[in-house]
């Protein structure tokens, strides 16, 4: 049976009722409540978008639907039947993850049929496989040779092959998680065409994205999540970007500790990136920060913000453009040179970089300043210890003592150790990445306080965060990236979630 036949059969006899229903689904990870009582339904044959900011609970929802995790509470009904996670995992749902999961050294046809390769006896029936792959590609108007090696295709074509793999599995629900995040505009348009075509053939698609124009273009219904809660399912008729933005944002920010706006306009520029570019990652980034300023950088996934932050510290060196510190151009953009020139960097994921889990707190906070705490290369153990004790007191790090290991600490305290190390050099330019990812409220406030204190002392602070309310509370102005370049900047009275989100996700 070809896909077309199957689809036409389905269309001729559509079972009634929604294909998927979530009823009061909750899930928490430790103390973090990821989802709270989420309920919505997906009708057969529609494109249903799930929309929400970073951390709104989209991924958790998808994982539950796809049967990767079991919810703590609530039911998930597929075609009217309550199901367990492992049934859904085995069953009728196909998910295309955000990251490519392809076999780059195998052919297009093999990638489409992986795990279900047609056999004659025990031998692979190459002819049948290629013929079916060709049908599938032609059906969606794609001119790709089925014998082509996947690695030689563009990322967009690879993404499409991956989606075809899911289509070929003949699942009745297809989940696409941020399928356009790695694609250029043309490829994204091709993908939109493919999705419309699948919908016209009766395929049900759950589509997750934070690109508003796409969602408005293809979705029949849009479900908005915010802070792990279901907000609303909207019918996509006369909807505008503003309607969606308003529902995505508007979190209760709590008391906004008014960010000091005293940064003098004529304070010296401490940090400047001029025309900074990195091949295929981002282009022409210009950012200036004056002494005493906290500047936020916001970009949704795929905006290039993450790569920009790594490039400006030389972790992955930029391919063109310059960095200036205190008005002087930095000759070699490498972390070691920038640290010596008075810059400091807080990595965004403390599990990957920024800490030494098996070394004492004293070692951790002294790592960037070992040379300063040494004479003739010999470390002064007393000064290391003193510094560690100072930092433990200053950041109220809850540890037994300077010899405790980060591995034994809570996330918030690990983060404070990392911030201590970051500030240990007394840097004049400080780059903070996701400074409060996965930390409790108390630690968050303390980290914010530390950033404000640094700015008040005349340092320049650059904050990259996907937590928009955090940026709004912390920054004097926010630079927004979209589509791997600068989308604009908001400052002063105009600075609000909607204004930032409109730049980051919209078309303005």
């Amino acid at each position: 049976m070809t896909i077309a036949e199957r689809i036409s059969m389905e269309r001729s006899a559509p079972a009634p009722g929604p294909i998927l229903e979530l009823e009061g689904v909750s899930k928490s990870y430790g103390a973090v409540q990821a989802l709270r009582g989420v309920s919505f339904r997906v009708a057969r044959g529609e494109v249903h978008a799930i929309l929400g900011e970073n951390g709104a609970g989209k991924s958790t929802t998808l994982k539950i639907i796809n049967g990767e995790i079991e919810p703590d509470e609530g039911r998930v009904l597929v075609a009217g039947q309550a199901t367990e996670a492992r049934e859904r995992k085995r069953g009728d749902i196909a998910m295309v993850h955000q990251e490519l999961a392809v076999f780059p050294n195998m052919s297009v046809a093999e990638n489409i049929f992986v795990g279900r390769i047609p056999l004659t006896g025990r031998r692979i029936d190459f002819e049948r496989m290629h013929a079916r792959a060709r049908d599938l590609l032609r059906l969606f108007g794609l001119r790709i040779d089925t014998r082509e090696i996947l690695g030689s295709l563009t990322p967009g074509q690879q993404q499409i092959v991956e989606i075809l793999r899911a289509v070929e599995s003949e699942a009745s629900l297809l989940i696409l998680d941020e399928p356009t995040s790695g694609l250029n505009n043309h490829e994204a348009a091709t993908l939109m065409g493919l999705i419309k075509r699948l919908r016209d053939d009766g395929q049900t698609i759950l589509y997750v994205s934070h690109r508003l124009p796409e969602v408005l273009e293809i979705a029949d219904h849009v479900t908005v999540l915010r802070d792990g809660q279901f907000i609303e399912t909207l019918r996509n008729a006369d909807l505008g970007e503003d309607d969606l933005i308003r529902r995505m944002v508007g979190r209760d920010l709590g008391p906004v500790a008014a960010a000091p706006r005293a940064a003098a306009r004529d304070a010296p520029v401490l940090f400047a990136a001029r025309g900074l570019s990195q091949a295929d990652q981002f282009r022409d980034m210009d950012v200036e920060i004056r002494a005493g300023e906290i500047v936020g950088v916001f970009g949704l996934e795929g905006s290039g913000a993450e790569q920009f932050s790594q490039a400006l510290f030389g972790i992955v060196p930029p391919t063109s453009g310059t960095i200036e510190l205190k008005g002087r151009r930095v000759a070699s953009v490498s972390p070691a040179a920038l640290v010596r020139a008075g810059m400091s960097y807080l990595p965004g994921n403390r599990k990957e970089a920024g800490l030494y889990m098996e070394r004492s707190i004293a070692d951790n906070v002294s790592a960037p300043v070992l040379d300063r705490l040494s004479r003739w290369g010999v470390v002064d153990a007393r000064r290391v210890d003193a510094q560690a004790k100072d930092d433990i007191r200053r950041f109220a790090i809850r540890v037994p003592g300077p010899q405790g290991l980060p591995r034994q600490l809570s996330g918030g305290n690990q983060q404070k150790v990392m911030v201590s190390a970051c500030l240990a050099t007394g840097p004049e330019v400080i780059v903070l990445n996701e400074p409060t990812r996965g930390v409790d409220v108390g630690a968050k406030a303390e980290v914010h306080e530390a950033a404000r204190a640094e700015a008040a002392r005349g340092r320049a602070v650059l904050v990259f965060s996907s937590d928009l309310p955090e940026l709004l509370r912390l920054s004097h102005r926010i630079v927004v990236m979209r589509g791997r370049r600068l989308a604009g900047e908001v400052a002063g009275a105009a600075m609000g979630e909607e204004a930032v989100m409109a730049l980051a996700a919209g078309t303005r």
Partner: protein, 335 residues
């Protein structure tokens, strides 16, 4: 601590106990030295009690002499492992440097220029290893297997050219130089172990190496010059292997294409026994020395028990597997 210290300062001073625990104790660093010494001593005692040929002056001094020469080669090797890299070319560099020195001496060069040239060649090989690992992020395990074969090829060319010729008499005597009536390499080993103990405890450079081995990405962010330090360690590894090679060439008195064969695997085994890890972040030259001594005792014991010498490789292989397995299990538990 004197009573005249102002209170504010005294507060920052760790007590003597805390200082002794110091940063080393926090991760069990160096904690394996005592048990390892006890095991080594037990093996020695066992052999001394069961075999009468073992505890003779000549046997003991020959074991120590052999260990002290291999020890020279493990100095740099250990510190490469601290940074989560490995240098398997040590055995070949050891052979090439020794034979090159010998060849130059046969060609009537004076000793010091000959040794210097050979060591510069070794340093160049180490630099290439380090540079390729740092610049192109090549896996050092595979890369140095390549250098191992390549340098072994060069060494064999030299060995063939020399055709088993004996080195000049003065050079043959070189390794037998005594200091305080003890072989100079043994004196050097003792001095180096003391120096390493101090280096590992006090020097910023060693801490940086540990940081790099533990989490290179953190080290980069903290402005540590990861690339430079790694290249320097690979150079040191080749140079220390080269010095050991020069002593060995002198000791075996003639060119031999079997020289230094399999030495790299003895080094890995000894270093891991001594506290280094394939997962980086630790390593201790004192332990490496004990590891070499333990291996030498085991091999010597086999000879004492008339076990065929061909079984030596079998035993080294078995010990290598055992130590690597142990290392992996320990690291899996803590991570």
């Amino acid at each position: 601590m004197s009573m005249t210290q102002p209170a504010g300062v005294a507060e920052h001073r760790p007590g003597p106990a805390a200082r002794r625990r110091g940063w080393l104790a926090g991760n069990g660093f160096g904690a394996n030295i005592l048990p390892l010494a006890v095991i080594t001593l037990a093996v020695a005692l066992f052999l001394a009690l069961t075999r009468e040929n073992f505890a003779t002056g000549s046997n003991i001094s020959s074991i120590l002499f052999g260990v002290s020469i291999e020890f020279l080669a493990i100095i740099g090797f250990t510190y490469v492992m601290v940074m989560r890299e490995i240098d398997l070319s040590v055995g070949s560099v050891f052979a090439l440097t020794g034979m090159l020195t010998g060849a130059l001496l046969v060609a009537d060069w004076p000793f010091w220029p000959a040794a210097l040239v050979a060591l510069v060649v070794a340093a160049a090989i180490g630099f290439v290893n380090g540079f390729l690992v740092v610049r192109f992020q090549i896996n050092s395990l595979m890369l140095t297997i390549g250098t191992m074969l390549l340098v072994r090829g060069l060494a064999n060319v030299l060995a063939n050219a020399l055709g088993g010729q004996t080195y000049p008499r003065a050079f043959r005597q070189f390794a037998r130089t005594d200091l305080f009536d003890i072989r100079i390499t043994i004196v050097v080993m003792v001095a180096a172990v003391v120096a390493a103990w101090w280096f590992q405890r006090r020097m910023g450079l060693f801490r940086k190496m540990c940081f790099i081995g533990e989490n290179p990405r953190s080290a980069v962010v903290h402005g540590i010059r990861v690339g430079r330090i790694k290249i320097a360690a690979f150079v040191a590894s080749a140079v220390t292997a080269g010095i050991a090679g020069i002593f060995t060439a002198s000791r075996i008195t003639h060119a031999d294409n079997q020289m230094g064969m399999g030495l790299e695997f003895v080094m890995v085994t000894a270093a891991i026994i001594g506290g280094a890890s394939l997962y980086g972040g630790k390593g201790d030259l004192r332990g490496s020395a004990l590891g070499l001594l333990l291996l030498a005792l085991v091999l010597n014991g086999m000879i004492m028990y008339d076990i065929e010498p061909v079984f030596q490789q079998f035993v080294i292989g078995a010990l290598l597997i055992a130590t690597v397995a142990f290392d992996t299990l320990v690291n899996r538990r803590t991570k």
